[in-house]
């Protein structure tokens, strides 16, 4: 068995190409030196708001929490120039509540599924969860790939499982979480990206992480994935979207991610249809910076609804 997985690994790596980690880190360091000011800053901040998947994924989520989240998603701030977010992201049991509040508004309901975050249940259970969420009205499904299978070299299985979830989604869009912290190497992230994209449709996404481990989205793993998306697009014409999730807490970081998109994928990906931020506290920092640009004064966190900081 080790022999088979060895061959499959080197075949896959050969097909998609290797990634040099130090090289990627150096490339993305340049994104972080970009200085985005004035009107271009406001543009970027508003774009980031419109790309946000406002998320709550806690064991203690209740309909009340969902209501609060959805109100914020629909109208993040009193400023009429601030757009609504792209979607709310919730557990399957909360989909109905969310749909009742945001259905038809333009803000989508995204549901995690497939035994998020670990994925460690039978495949049939994972599929059933997807169907259930879709039936409850989820416009988008965020799934996790089978990391155990990936790391044992069972690449066909990983891909087939994703294909099955695509089918179960029907008309709903699919986002495929690779869980970069568990894949560890950039070679693995690139390979997993291609495995997923091979069975995705235009309008689907690949996503960095569940947000439930200690290492989530960074400029570097975002870069590995958007380069994969670019290469796949150039080869096949299929445009897959990207969603970095977890670890993006400040507006400044978000702007750097957008610079990466601008310089790697180009203008066609600077839209909520092809790029999302999986975040919760990021939204208020975006609002805080937008308000600062508008008034000229630095803002305190508690001026914004749902802010956690009281100090």
């Amino acid at each position: 068995m080790p022999r088979t997985s060895q061959t499959a690994l080197s075949r896959l790596l050969d097909e998609v190409g290797a990634v040099d980690q130090v090289g990627v880190e150096e490339r993305v360091a340049k994104f972080a030196t970009r200085s985005i000011k004035k009107a271009s800053k406001v543009w970027g901040l508003r774009m980031a708001v419109s790309m946000t998947d406002l998320t709550t994924l806690e064991g203690k989520d209740t309909p009340g929490k969902i209501e609060s989240l959805c109100r914020k998603a629909l109208r993040p701030h009193d400023d009429p120039d601030v757009p609504a977010v792209a979607a709310v992201c919730v557990y399957p049991s909360m989909v109905r509540h969310a749909k009742a509040l945001v259905g038809g508004s333009g803000v989508n309901v995204a549901s995690v599924a497939t035994a998020f975050p670990s994925g460690q249940t039978h495949y049939r259970t994972r599929l059933a969860e997807v169907r259930g969420a879709v039936a409850d009205g989820a416009d988008e499904v965020d799934m996790v790939i089978n990391r155990g299978a990936f790391l044992s070299g069972e690449f066909s299985r990983v891909q087939d499982e994703i294909a099955g979830v695509v089918e179960a989604c029907g008309a709903s869009a699919l986002k495929v979480i690779l869980e970069v912290s568990e894949l560890e190497t950039f070679d693995n992230i690139r390979m997993a990206s291609f495995l997923a994209m091979g069975v995705l449709r235009p309008g689907d996404f690949i996503k960095t992480s569940t947000g439930k481990t200690t290492l989530n989205a960074t400029l570097a793993n975002n870069q590995v994935m958007i380069e994969a998306i670019r290469d796949f697009y150039m080869d096949t014409g299929v445009a897959v979207g990207m969603k970095p999730a977890g670890g993006i807490k400040t507006a400044k970081q978000a702007l750097h991610f957008l610079v990466a998109v601008k310089e790697t994928l180009g203008d066609a990906w600077l839209t909520r249809r092809r790029y999302r931020f999986g975040a919760s506290s990021l939204l208020n920092d975006l609002l805080r910076q937008i308000e600062k640009e508008k008034t000229g004064a630095y803002q305190a966190p508690y001026y914004f609804s749902d802010a956690a900081e009281s100090y």
Binding site: L12, E15, V16, G17, A18, V19, D20, V22, G23, V24, E26, R27, T33, R34, S35, I36, K37, K38, A39, S40, K41, W43, G44, M47, F155, S156, Q159, M191, F194, L195, G198, V199, E227, R230, D231, F232, Y233, M234, D235, T236, G237, L258, K262, E263, L265, G266, D267, A268, L270
Partner: protein, 494 residues
């Protein structure tokens, strides 16, 4: 299992790098604290040149005058050497531990004023503020800091021998990394106990004379370091002065040869760091995006005004199309413009003369049948600018494959086998640096063994460190700078 479906031929989808999200200007606003006139720095003081003559330093970004610089004549150069000679006894007798502490002070003071120096460097030379801020100035400080620590460890420089200073050294440096080249020259010379007479390049004298202020603040004894500003004549006077125990020159191969001829018949020690036409070699198993980034760093860093620039891309035929198409996309997002804008990637060409040279060689490339690609970019109306340029269908016989352009122009050739890559890479009178991009470790080591270059970068490019020796083979010069090896060139071994 379909991982990636490679299309062969047919129309390929394209990416849009347009103006959907235009960046606003983001100028660096720190004050460079420039003076309107800079004098010579001799014997610890700023002094007027004997002739009273000055020349103008202009900002290549907008062709406006920045300052007047004193023009040193032979009498001034002589005065500088005499001051250095007088200071030498005391300086050489200063215990290494104390000499080192002066160099540590210089490093720290430069770090304190880093932003001010970065802006001054950008204004005087044209390089983007991002580079002077993030590379030139910190690296210059690091050179002083590193060499400071050698001053009291000279017994380790040459095992079995006692390493001491040579005396007064004459140094001439180029305009492409003014402050950094100054640090590369001063730091090892001073650590070894030598005294210095140095001439900055005529288009970039300002940061040297600002550093003279730091030398004063650091309390460096007068005469240990002297700066004489001027052009070719002044340079010849510095190189040819009988008071020099050793000379060090960084600049073009042409001028290097002239200096060697000038000094024939003397016993003057010399080191030369001259031009290059480095091959950046990409194999089919290279991580392609990182290789592309390395290619871009290799030729567009500092507008290509780099002796070790990767100005020839040798790409393995099987991946040539892929690499070139990604390279084209990458250069489309390079930002050319005002060097003081924090988002600028390519700044101004250093001088009108240099711009003329670049244009002439590029024209020769077109004339000789190579295929030119330049991404659309809006160049400022005033100032000296040149867009990033790629030439494909280049062969070894093209002038643009053999002559050093010293600009943002990449000549792209292909190869079929490892042996052919080595042949083509070595097929040049130069031998300063080379790049190798491959995932295979043994191949890296073989290439490193066979490439006739003083610096080989594997899966990276343009990496420098004060501890890492730098210098060339063949007509790229001789002698090394950096590390223990670099110190040997400033040492008298007893």
């Amino acid at each position: 299992m379909a991982a990636t479906r490679k299309t062969s031929g047919g129309t390929r989808p394209g990416l849009i790098f347009g103006d959907l999200w235009e960046f606003d200007p983001a100028p660096e606003t720190a004050d460079p604290k420039l003076k309107s006139r800079y004098d010579l720095f001799i014997d610890g003081r700023f002094v007027r040149p004997r002739s009273g003559r000055t020349f103008d330093s202009i900002n290549p970004a907008n062709e406006r005058k920045l300052a007047e610089i004193a023009l040193a004549g032979p009498a001034d150069v002589d005065a500088a050497y005499r001051a250095a000679g007088r200071a030498f006894r005391g300086w050489a007798a200063t215990p290494g531990r104390e000499r080192g502490k002066y160099l540590f002070r210089i490093a720290r003071l430069l770090q304190d004023r880093a932003r001010e120096f970065a802006v001054a460097e950008t204004l005087d030379g044209g390089k983007p503020i991002r580079e002077s801020r993030d590379f030139d100035v910190p690296m210059a400080a690091a050179h002083f800091f590193y060499h400071a620590g050698w001053a009291d460890k000279l017994e380790y420089v040459a095992p079995g021998r006692i390493a001491g200073p040579l005396g007064v050294v004459g140094q001439v440096i180029p305009w492409n990394f003014p402050l950094l080249m100054l640090a590369w020259k001063l730091a090892p010379a001073l650590a070894m106990g030598n005294c210095v007479v140095l001439k900055p390049a005529e288009t970039t004298s300002i940061t040297a004379l600002k550093l003279a202020e730091i030398l004063q603040d650091a309390g460096l004894p007068p005469g240990v370091v002297n700066f004489v500003t001027g052009a070719g004549e002044t340079g010849a006077a510095v190189m040819g002065h009988p008071g020099a125990a050793k000379v060090a020159f960084t600049g073009s191969t042409e001028v290097g040869k002239a200096i060697m001829r000038q000094l024939a018949g003397t016993d003057r020690k010399m080191t030369m760091e001259l031009g290059g036409k480095a091959a950046n070699i990409v194999f089919d198993d290279a991580p392609i995006d990182q290789a592309v980034e390395g290619i871009v760093n290799g030729i567009f860093f500092n507008q290509g005004h780099v002796c070790c620039a990767g100005s020839r891309l040798l790409v393995h035929e099987p991946v040539a199309e892929q690499v070139i198409s990604r390279l084209r996309n990458r250069v489309r997002v390079l930002r050319v413009g005002d060097p003081l804008d924090k988002n600028t990637d390519l700044g101004a060409i250093n001088s009108r003369e240099q711009l003329g040279r670049i244009r002439r060689l590029v024209a020769s490339g077109v004339r000789e049948g190579a295929q030119m690609y330049q991404p659309p970019c809006r160049l400022p109306e005033r100032g000296y600018y040149f867009p990033p340029t790629l030439f494909t269908r280049v062969t070894q016989s093209h002038r643009i494959a053999r002559e050093e352009i010293f600009g943002p122009v990449l000549s792209i050739l292909t190869f079929r086998t490892v042996d052919e890559a080595i042949e083509k890479a070595n097929n040049t009178p130069y031998g300063l640096s080379a790049g190798v991009w491959t995932d295979k470790g043994s191949r890296i080591l073989r290439m490193a063994t066979e490439l006739k270059a003083g610096v080989v970068w594997a899966n990276t490019f343009n990496k420098f460190d004060p501890s890492s020796p730098f210098g060339g083979y063949k007509e790229s010069g001789f002698g090394r700078e950096g590390g223990r090896q670099g110190l040997l060139d400033y040492a008298h071994l007893a």
